[in-house]
Subunit: 271 residues, 2 copies
């Protein structure tokens, strides 16, 4: 499976025009190992993020997370793409990357806010590309990014509880370990809390048990692998560490109501 | 002599109009225990900073440092004052308040830059004064301030030597790796220099050894984690890779003169 990395490995943060000359074939479905925020100034075209299709409308903003499946059909859309690696969060305060594990890729924002953030991106871009900038200039660009990210997070999490952090950290671990770990107790151990505590916070924040969330993540990853089209169904089952194709099949049946084969056909029809 | 403190003790950062109704008699010479940056949009009047008098000219910027003597004769000048306490630097990266110990209070800046910074101040002001803002909004305002400060620092340090860069890069690595790496040799290796070279440049730039700076960073990170309030003291010790709570405790005692518990109480009082 093709996983795309940042084009400029020495830079944790980069801004591109929406119509930039991609270094990889973006007309093929792919995954990134970095974050992308798309600021669509002028609409046109559409994109696929995991199994959801979004129209690229005027003044819309999308967040694509590492590991999500992505396919951009830009058409006439214009705008900017902000790309950054997870490691950038070591330079930020008080953000951590799990703040960005949004439930929905699309962020709703007012026109005024859009244009303010857009102007910040332009300044950020100028700083990043400036020749002979000071050694501190890069941190100025990170500060611009932090403003943008907090703004988007605020739009997403209108009500933030104290406990959001544990729950969010669980989602973060999920996305990293989903292929190997499927027991709630494994995650509770990694978070230094009891299974009961993890249960409590997941229900409070997401209205779901940790096991529900684990199973959902397995289904999501299955769909991603199907969308990427590089694995057979049997291979997907092994990639996700099921003991046998029939175990995988009954898991998918139970959690989606479809056989893997049906799911694969349905999911491919959206591309 | 009167030493003036921030008017809103619960806020580390505040923006006022230049013609605001001072809570103290500013026609008498005074000292602040906080920083002030004056952005003069429309000139008029003059001010005394320590033993220098400055005319308030159109589009001029002045930095008044804690402890400096100040007397403002505003006359018809218009603009904005950004006020902030030293403690704000606990929330910033990678700035420290010593970055702002300018040799000259006046900062020369282009008209374009002035108006960009001025618009950032307006956004910052709006965030600070917004009712019912999110718990993260305050950090957005700090990010705006960080952009402004780095900009002013850059204007001030026109010539930066090669050696500043190595020392600055060391500080940058420190902040990224402080949780795992505490040996000077690890950092020297990452910088492709010898321990002696790193020692030399740290002493030259900061008057401190790399080990001093490593220990300071551990203390800073401890304070940040305390401020975040998501970890118990024992958890902070483990997060920072101390072998045991007692090792952590004696490290903090040695480097701050306080027990972790005392430090935690003191640090929380600044929020």
């Amino acid at each position: 499976m093709k996983i795309v990395s940042l084009e400029h490995p020495s830079k944790l943060l980069f801004v591109e025009s929406l119509d930039y000359n991609n270094p990889y074939d973006f007309t093929k479905i792919h995954k990134h190992d970095y974050f992308e925020i798309l600021f669509i100034q002028k609409g046109g075209g559409s994109q696929l993020i995991d199994d959801q299709r979004f129209k690229l409308e005027d003044l819309s903003i999308f967040m694509i997370q590492p590991g999500q499946v992505h396919l951009l059909n830009r058409d006439l859309a214009e705008g900017k793409i902000v790309q950054f690696g997870k490691d950038i969060f070591a330079h930020m305060f008080p953000l951590e990357f799990h703040h960005l594990l949004f439930k929905q890729p699309k962020v709703e924002i007012s026109e005024t806010d859009f244009f303010h953030l857009y102007s910040l991106i332009e300044h950020m871009d100028k700083i990043i590309k400036e020749e002979g900038a000071s050694s501190m200039a890069i941190f100025k660009s990170y500060s611009y990014l932090q403003i943008i990210l907090i703004h988007l997070i605020e739009k997403h999490n209108v009500t933030q509880t104290k406990n959001t952090k544990l729950a969010a950290r669980f989602l973060e671990l999920l996305s990293v370990h989903i292929k190997d770990k499927r027991n709630v107790v494994d995650y509770a151990n990694m978070l230094y809390v009891s299974v009961d505590t993890l249960n409590y916070h997941c229900k409070l924040n997401f209205g779901k048990t940790p096991l529900n969330l684990i199973n959902e993540e397995v289904v999501k990853e299955t769909k991603r692998l199907m969308l990427l089209g590089t694995h057979s169904i049997v291979e997907i089952g092994y990639e996700l560490n099921f003991n046998s194709p029939s175990n995988f099949s009954s898991f998918i049946k139970k959690n989606t109501g479809k056989t893997p084969k049906q799911l694969n056909i349905d999911i491919k029809s959206i591309i």
